[in-house]
Symmetry: C2
Subunit: 289 residues, 2 copies
């Protein structure tokens, strides 16, 4: 129903049913964004991470967001490396969705799907391809954003240093089995983070090929983030960010000006309840028009 | 006036004055997009290219679009490497502009500025930082898009192979003075282009440090593109693309649905004159609402 985007009223009622207000509190799921350039090894990493979580008895939903290329005229779903898992295991849900549209890398549908899945799974993963702008959207949907890079990923390093790429919560260097080059990449990324004043961001090295290494440490680092005291405040901020972004995409910059501009819209959102869902915030913005 | 975005009516009249209809034909300028990751050497390359064009007696305007990072909270203008030129030479105009907003990497203001400068200069360059989505916007503004990469730019290669990055009209590998690694990059990029069925795209190697090499060849390759027979059709397509993007950003996805959806809006644009300016096309879309 969310993906079809046909019956918006029905979607809104569904989302009202899973709002923090209706649930009597924040859903327990950890919503994790996994992003990075193609070829970085995200699918292999996720296969290993999903197995690790299932071994710990945690249920997992993965939303794999597929970027569409305008020129190639369609979705790359067919080309996507699949996340390996036992299809009979109903503690796992894996779903590929098209990003759709050109405004913003992450469609509203992905945010809504993550919101609908959060009360039902321990982990909700939003996987996207990209470096740069798209992370901003992922940040509005996820509690934690991990950027996955392969060793010697010079462009990612440059994006980070130039302040064009948002600083993630966690950096993961894959292919640690490559030895020296992985160690050097990990050190270079650590230095780039220091240069932008974010030396507290963990840089982890993992190898997803059997025998995997670093996966347990990654799962532990993610669990630490989930228990961090800044998660509630961040969720509030993220929901407000998502509401503003979706309001503008739907109603246009003109509607934002009618509200008195971006700052006025942000102030309107800040006056809402901290636990208000994106749907409720959207309704508040629409009522303010 | 265009940058301030204060008096939209005055901007629209200005743009009507420089429309192909008012000018009695397409402006002669070659509008060139130069894009690539930070650190690829775009500024140095442009300094050498501007000197080459001036040596050929051609006038040049450069619009350097500055991406803004949300978290760093502002523009990177201060950090930008400057394009070297003689400040007394009035055959050169160089202007840094902030991209602004989150919807689309390239603001409407950049498109409007390029349009206003096109009747007054032989070359109009739009320089942006990025890999991926942002090129789509550059393509809607420019006759020719060149992507600049440094040698061993693995992520760009991956983006290209995965079909996430639009195929540019020209690929430029900088730092050709690095020898083997530049040669290997050039070959790898050529193979990636072949893999996506675009083996006709030229891959040039340049060195911008004195003595520069490959700059003349690049200027020649750009001149060949300008004289290409597909430029008029591409300009029409680009103006229609820009109008649709700006209409949606301004009025929202809702307004697009009111027009009957994206395809219906595209058909409405296809019925307009091939020489219609973006402003005229925007007015046609607004009238169709």
């Amino acid at each position: 129903m969310i993906e079809n985007r046909a019956d918006r009223d029905a979607t809104r009622s569904l989302l009202h049913e899973v709002s923090p207000a209706a649930l009597g509190g924040e859903p327990p799921a950890h919503v994790i964004g996994i992003t990075g350039p193609p070829g970085a090894g995200k699918s292999l990493l996720l296969s290993a991470l999903v197995a690790e979580w299932r071994g710990r008895g945690q249920t997992v939903a993965v939303l794999a967001v597929d970027p569409s290329s305008k020129r190639s005229g369609g979705s790359l779903l067919g080309d996507r490396a699949r996340i390996e898992h036992d299809p009979r295991d109903d503690g796992i849900l894996i779903r590929s969705t098209a990003a759709g549209g050109r405004l913003g890398g992450l469609a509203a549908a992905t945010r809504e799907a993550a919101e609908a899945l959060a009360p039902a799974f321990d982990m909700v993963v939003v996987e996207t391809v990209g470096v740069g702008q798209s992370e901003t959207d992922v940040e509005d949907v996820c509690d934690t954003v991990a950027v996955v890079v392969q060793p010697a990923s010079g462009d990612v390093l440059q994006f980070l240093k130039a302040g064009i790429m948002e600083v993630p919560d966690l950096l993961v260097v894959t292919k640690a089995d490559l030895g020296d080059v992985a160690t050097r990449s990990r050190r270079d990324l650590g230095q780039a983070l220091k240069a932008v004043g974010s030396s507290e961001v963990p840089v982890l090295a993992v190898s997803s090929v059997p025998p995997p290494s670093g996966i347990e440490e990654l799962a532990d680092a993610l669990a630490v983030r989930r228990d961090g005291s800044d998660v509630p405040a961040r969720r509030t901020r993220a929901r407000r960010g998502a509401a503003l972004r979706e309001f503008t995409a739907e109603h246009g910059e003109r509607a934002l000006r009618e509200l008195g501009g971006r700052r006025a819209a942000e102030r309107l959102l800040e006056r809402q309840d901290a636990a208000a869902s994106v749907t409720e915030l959207l309704e508040a913005l629409e009522a303010g028009q």
